[in-house]
């Protein structure tokens, strides 16, 4: 579209100013993480010198490394678990004909309407009964089944032409082989979207880990942040910010890499 120069300048101006506002808090935290205590109190914006002291402190004062590992294990587990469970379910909905298929699908969708809070209290009790407090299973298993994920994959599977399935039946491919060798590879983009979504949301989870981890054995990094903020080093903001930066690097990276993909995938899922 042909745009006049004054219009272009105006839009660039708006873009620069507003995006600066949006990104500012992160940038600020980043700067603070390199500053010393006195510098922070003075209210400087740029650190005098880049010192990694805060970073080393945050790793030594807090078992941050093990928290990072925990978060990673949990997020990857949930991501893989969701991919497996949701793709199997979506496959069943699309390629099998059975009585009650629509009804069961409706049941699945209805779970999206039930807010987490309506189930959290008994879920904690369940975890306690299973003695799953402070375990990886407790943190991950409840989330393997995701209606949204099943829905997303089902939408994609529906676009696979029926002829492909029929050709595989003629060729004698078993149901599972067809799933494994044809359906999954063809749906790569949706699987990646779901995987990224699962990883991201699990990494950022707060309430559930708070409820079922009471010690630091499997504590995730988000609760680690809360711990950071409530300890005596809470006043050492440089250290705190270093912790924040460490926690957000994985997800920011994932977002930067997959941004276009995520946006397309999410909006396709949104518009049904």
């Amino acid at each position: 579209m042909k745009m006049g120069l004054p219009q272009k300048i105006w839009i660039y101006f708006l873009l620069i100013v507003t995006s600066a506002f949006v990104f500012f808090p992160v940038l600020y935290a980043f700067m603070i993480s390199f500053m010393t205590g006195p510098e922070i109190i003075q209210g400087k914006f740029f650190p005098e010198s880049i010192s990694f002291e805060n970073y080393s402190k945050v790793f030594s004062r807090l078992p941050l490394l093990s928290y990072l590992l925990n978060s990673f294990i949990v997020s990857v587990s949930v991501m893989l678990g969701q991919l497996v469970v949701c793709s199997l379910a979506a496959y069943a909905f699309v390629f099998f004909k059975f009585k009650g298929r629509d009804f069961i699908f409706f049941l699945f969708i209805s779970t999206m309407m039930i807010p987490w809070e309506a189930t959290m209290i008994p879920n904690v009790f369940t975890i306690r009964k299973l003695d799953w407090f402070n375990t990886y299973q407790g943190l991950t298993l409840p989330f393997f089944a995701l209606a949204f994920g099943t829905f997303l994959l089902r939408q994609h599977f529906l676009t696979i032409p029926k002829e492909l399935h029929e050709a595989s039946q003629i060729a004698g491919l078993s149901r599972f082989r067809f799933f494994w060798r044809v359906v999954l590879p063809v749906s790569k983009t949706s699987l990646v979207t779901l995987g990224a979504y699962g990883f991201l949301t699990t990494w950022n989870m707060y309430l559930w880990p708070l409820l079922i981890t009471t010690n630091k054995s499997v504590r995730t990094v988000q609760i680690g942040l809360k711990q950071l903020q409530s300890q005596e080093i809470a006043t050492e903001w440089g250290v705190v910010m270093a912790g924040v930066i460490v926690v957000i690097i994985p997800t920011l990276l994932l977002l930067f890499i997959g941004q276009k993909q995520l946006q397309k995938g999410l909006s396709q899922g949104a518009l049904k």
Partner: protein
């Protein structure tokens, strides 16, 4: 072949499907359906410390809650919070999406900037904002000081706390809303705009008569999601204010959390959860009723 034999063979589809669906069904039953019913069940009881239903009180929990000033305050705070955050987040996200939809050099950089808040967890965001709201060394008060304006006790002043939490929440949610709205904008057929340019339609005319109507399904989606999310806010409350000061930010989920896991009153907590569930249900139904008429599907 006996009749049972053919029936058995025909049900192969159903049986195999059951196998594929089993993991999801088991997980949903254990972690979604069962707990939901149990919560409703518990809401009619007073419980002991371990969470077992002890004394059946019927609707008394609900009566008590609806009458208690604490709960009413919680509802009010939640309502205000939703009102503060949802419209502004969406309007800002739409504004950014319109800007970022222009075909300019380097637009990808700006899109990344706008969507960045989606890559930052609630906990991390809250800690950053906690620092910025700090009364002595936080950035906001410093700015006020430079401009010779009186200092505000952002998170410690009952008048300001909810607003402060709202501001930080708007920031946190902008990334996701932006991405969804940008996706919606990009799905609009370019030819519609070209045709209107030949007719001589200006920017705001196009915005009103083409962009917004074509965007309405996406807008509907993001408003619904944002509303539901707003009612479920927890993380930032836990880190920024813990429900205070003077209960001014005691949003409903935090209230449930406190009631259940700090006061060990699982019965009343469950009742609160049921009320929350009903509110979300009503809001969503209203959304769909209103949206049905106004949204233009292709």
């Amino acid at each position: 072949m006996t009749r049972i034999g053919t029936m058995w063979r025909k049900s192969l589809d159903g049986r195999t499907a059951a196998l594929y669906l089993l993991p999801s069904i088991i997980l949903f039953s254990v972690f979604v359906f069962y707990p939901m019913f149990r919560t409703i069940y518990l809401s009619f009881f007073l419980t002991d410390q371990t969470g077992n239903a002890a004394i059946m009180v019927g609707f008394e929990n609900f009566q008590y809650l609806l009458g208690s000033s604490e709960f009413q305050n919680s509802m009010k705070a939640t309502g205000l919070f939703v009102l503060y955050t949802v419209p502004i987040t969406i309007i800002l996200a739409l504004f950014f999406a319109l800007l970022a939809n222009e075909k300019l050099k380097g637009i990808g950089f700006f899109r990344t900037m706008y969507s960045s808040t989606m890559g930052i967890s609630v906990a991390a965001s809250s800690v950053i904002w906690l620092f910025m709201f700090n009364p002595s060394i936080g950035m906001f008060n410093r700015l006020l000081g430079v401009m010779n304006l009186p200092q505000i006790q952002w998170l410690l002043d009952p008048e300001w706390a909810l607003l402060s939490v709202s501001i930080s929440t708007i920031w946190m949610n902008i990334g996701f809303s932006f991405l969804i709205l940008l996706g919606g904008l990009q799905n609009i057929d370019e030819h519609l705009y070209e045709s209107s340019r030949i007719d001589g339609a200006g920017y705001f005319y196009r915005l009103r008569r083409i962009t917004l109507p074509m965007l309405s399904p996406t807008l509907f989606f993001i408003i619904t999601i944002s509303l539901i999310n707003a009612f479920q806010t927890f993380g930032q409350i836990d880190i920024l204010t813990k429900g205070g000061p003077s209960q001014s930010t005691n949003l409903i989920v935090y209230s449930i959390y406190r009631e259940a896991f700090i006061n060990y009153q699982f019965g009343t907590a469950s009742a609160q959860a049921v009320i929350l569930f009903l509110i979300i249900l009503v809001v969503t139904i209203l959304q769909f009723k209103l949206g049905e008429r106004k949204v233009h599907y292709q």
